[in-house]
Symmetry: C2
Subunit: 210 residues, 2 copies
Amino acid sequence: MVVPIFPASPVTPPAGGIRSQTGADLRAIALTQFASVGFAATSLQNIADIAGFSKSSVLYHFASKEALLEQVLTPAIDQLEVVLDRFVTEPETIATRERFVDDFIDFLLEFRLELHTFINQAQSLRGIAIIDRAGLLIVRLAASICHDDASNEDRLRFGFALGGAAYSLVAGMTFLGEATLPDDDLRPALRTVMTELLAPVSVHPRPAHS
Amino acid sequence: MVVPIFPASPVTPPAGGIRSQTGADLRAIALTQFASVGFAATSLQNIADIAGFSKSSVLYHFASKEALLEQVLTPAIDQLEVVLDRFVTEPETIATRERFVDDFIDFLLEFRLELHTFINQAQSLRGIAIIDRAGLLIVRLAASICHDDASNEDRLRFGFALGGAAYSLVAGMTFLGEATLPDDDLRPALRTVMTELLAPVSVHPRPAHS
DNA sequence: ACAGGATCTGACCGATCGGTCAACTAGCCT
DNA sequence: AGGCTAGTTGACCGATCGGTCAGATCCTGT
């Protein structure tokens, strides 16, 4: 049920050097739970049961439930910051905006569960450091994509791109196709739709339906 | 903080005829809480405190927390069913599809909090009757908008329309403009974006940005 | 063999959860 | 006045919450 991630795990962990494998498992389990049933509705006991550990063991690896959330979301927020900084650093051209779309899609596909978590629960988790940091990043992102003179439509398109991606890549697939598309099939379609929403200068007209 | 809705309240409630004013207040408060912090994170005590009543009083008006959720969401689901039935009944033309978009936008604006609640929390609330009913409606909606031969892009557009609207109309505005747009300013922009996503035959090319 | 650190666990804590219940109040009809 | 009903409340219940703590266990370096 749970798909843990093994980032080049060494056979012999060098005595407390890198994060423990157990910790990585717990983070992966916590992420799926936070994204699917929500942070508030996920109990430490719940995570422990899935992982096959006791609740005390979870609290040995993470100081608190909030600390677990922070460690779960931090890599995604770091990567989003990288993508955004790369975009705002360079002069804005059609090419850089299109490359931003590609960077952003890579981010979406890699961190879809993290995005879904902090997009749809930011309201209730306000005050937690990583959530507030993510919120500021979203504001910066909106300001970079939509200029001061942006129309209501363009601001709305940005919101649709963000909320639509978070929904479609996680919950939406439950409704649409039962079998989730592999990422390689998803990417070109995602690129088309995201480009329509975020890169208005290069809208490709589509043929009429059927 | 809370903005209750008073739908043509009679001065003298006809002795148990219509729903009580207190019940309507509680439903409105519960809706804002469910939509903003989530069903699981909203306690009956929380609702009672905002309303100025005791928790026991809330449980006098509603048999349980789940029953409260059902009564809160039912009007929205009923209306969504009306909009969908109207669309699938008629032969599909460009005109009917565009009118569906208008109907759907009316639905979005009137029931944005309800939509946000069951779109973003359906996973964790599975098993509750009204949520399952809403889920089936969404599947029917997807099947009606996207035909069997619909491309991945079109299915993705439908997901973006649904998730994007739920996000943009509730949480998104917190990030974008601090001051929420009045509905009359929002509607034309919403119509443009939703039409691009849901009515592919009538995409209006947009002028290049700035 | 031994020591020591890392890991894991059950018992336990106060707080809060959703929900039940008996009692109280206030209006309304006869 | 007396009874009926709707509305409201505090006391209380078992369950679960996040979190603490004192050990048990296991592995490794010496």
